[in-house]
Amino acid sequence: MDEGKVSRRDRSLWWIAGVVVIAYALFPVAWIVSVSFKTPSDLGSNRFLPTTWVWENYENILAGGAQDLFLSALRNSVGISLLATFISVVLATFAAYAIARLDFPGKRVILTTALAVAIFPVISIVTPLFNLWRNIGLYDTWPGLIIPYLSLTLPISIWTLSAFFRQIPWELEQAAQVDGATTWQAFRKVIVPLATPGVFTTAILSFFIAWNDFVYGISLTSTEAARPVPAALAFFTGASQFVDPAGAIAAAAVVVTIPVVVLVLLFQRRIVSGLTQGAVKG
């Protein structure tokens, strides 16, 4: 659009709209960051910024009274989500490679199945898992959450990875094979570098799904042994009746949002470098 033709009135309207939109999206986030630095007595005020900035809330959840609840939950969430992501990306890479690359009947059925499983209402299988896990000893353990998380992350991973893999210039692989590489070598040396951005995107997506899950988190755990962050956050509200938990909740919310933001920033750089690499080689 030609900037020169936009009148001054139009331009200021765009500016106002932009500011409103940014405020709408960011204000709740900014507010929670600000609350996380407030003292308990400050919580009731409508002032945006704390009167005195304190680390009290962070100390509370990381080293103080709430650390049993929060730190173990953080450990569980990070461990469980990373393991689920790793397993799901490895399995999905093979599956997506087969779907994008090899020719066989029933491909579309598999993709449909993957998508169908992805939209399967989680809530309708929680109860049997709850009973089953209690009988076979998986209740309130890491594998007890990793397995259902894989059923959430695998279909999405297969779906997105096959979309990525379909765009890869596969002639390169044939060229490598003509040069004497085996199928496996061609895959590892030629295709993997090209596929890395897609794999990373998928990994972020998987991590995101596992990290955010709440239904399995509260249904299939009962102690610090496996309870993930979302479930622990929900208990923050119930547990402390006498102290306003808003500060601690805010601090916890900030701490658990940071890894995801960092991951996304990381993944943006990955994607860009992947693209430029492809451009240089192509």
Partner: protein, 315 residues
């Protein structure tokens, strides 16, 4: 699920790729090619379909965890109970209202935001990254933000803002529970819609727009005649994907309203959870689960068809 989709959705032919009568070596070759995808596929099916079969079995039994040993086969009576249950019908209606409201409002806002972000301005990339933040906040944390700082009757920002224009404070989560839930959901989902629409806007050919401009089309006309039709696929995709996830909303309702007051904001996932983990009525919860799965399959069949149409148009 594969069998279910096949029965509900006509397009894909037989579910499991059964061996067609072919030459032995070709068949073995075929299976060798399929081998890489087997672990993922088999695992996914086992991890979701066996529990679902168990759910179906539970739904045919009367079983309350409060009375151990009370389990006995009752046939379809749980289903009769489900369909005569007033709360179930309300929960179904609430699910539709929440999903429809959230997805449509988020999409409308998303289109607006994408149009804003598509323009060139200082700090564009920073603002774009910042705009995604609500989507990156853990849903439970997002719901807690809305509960404690946005909608709180005494200290909430929303009441503070409407107070500036002279409106009395509102106890949002108890007076307008559905509005509160949709508000929190829209906030979380708008960035997702924005990202999709923005991708659509950026894939738009500049030459067409320039040609239209040369021909004297105004910005509004250009948007309606060129941009909107081009964006249709992206909008459809966003609405479908959004709806698929928002239908299963649980976190926001659990945190913000607990389905209340009464059952005013109970949606199906929350009601099922309540029946199973607070009412301990496994049979009933399972029957509702099965009904929800069937409903999802019916709706998703349309969704999938549209998605495939979108994909095939692309290539």
């Amino acid at each position: 699920m594969s069998a279910d989709t096949a029965t509900a959705g006509p397009p894909p032919a037989p579910a499991v790729p059964k061996k067609p009568p072919a030459a032995m070596s070709a068949r073995r070759q075929g299976w060798r090619r399929r081998a890489p995808l087997m672990p993922a596929l088999i695992f996914t099916i086992i991890a979701t379909q066996i529990p679902f079969l168990v759910t179906v079995w539970y739904s045919l039994n009367s079983w309350n965890l409060v009375n151990p040993g009370s389990e006995h086969f009752v046939g379809l009576s749980n289903y009769v109970d489900v369909f005569t249950d007033r709360v179930f019908r309300q929960a179904a209606l609430n699910t539709v209202v929440i999903t429809g409201g959230c997805v449509l409002i988020a999409m409308a806002l998303g289109i607006g935001m994408a149009l804003l972000l598509d323009r060139k301005f200082l700090g564009q990339s920073v603002v774009r990254t910042l705009m995604i933040t609500p989507f990156l906040v853990m849903p439970v944390a997002g719901a807690l933000i809305w509960q404690t700082s946005m909608l709180d009757p005494a200290f909430g920002i929303v009441n503070y803002v409407i107070g500036l224009v002279g409106i009395d404070p509102v106890n949002w989560t108890s007076s307008y529970p559905l509005v509160s839930v949709i508000g929190a959901l829209v906030w979380q989902w708008t960035p997702f819609m924005t990202l999709l629409v923005l991708a659509g806007l950026q894939s738009q050919g500049r030459d067409v727009l320039e040609a239209a401009q040369v021909d004297g089309a105004g910005p509004t006309r250009m948007f309606r005649a060129i941009t909107l039709p081009h964006l249709r696929r992206y909008i459809e995709l966003g609405v479908l994907l959004g709806a698929i996830y928002v239908v299963n909303t649980f976190d926001q309702i659990y945190i913000l309203t607990q389905g209340g007051p009464g059952t005013a904001s109970t949606n199906l996932p929350f009601y099922i959870y309540q029946r199973a983990f607070l009412g301990f009525d496994i049979g009933q919860a399972a029957a509702m689960g099965v009904v929800v799965v069937i409903g999802t399959i019916v709706v998703a069949t349309f969704a999938l068809r549209m998605l495939f149409r979108t994909f095939s148009e692309e290539t």
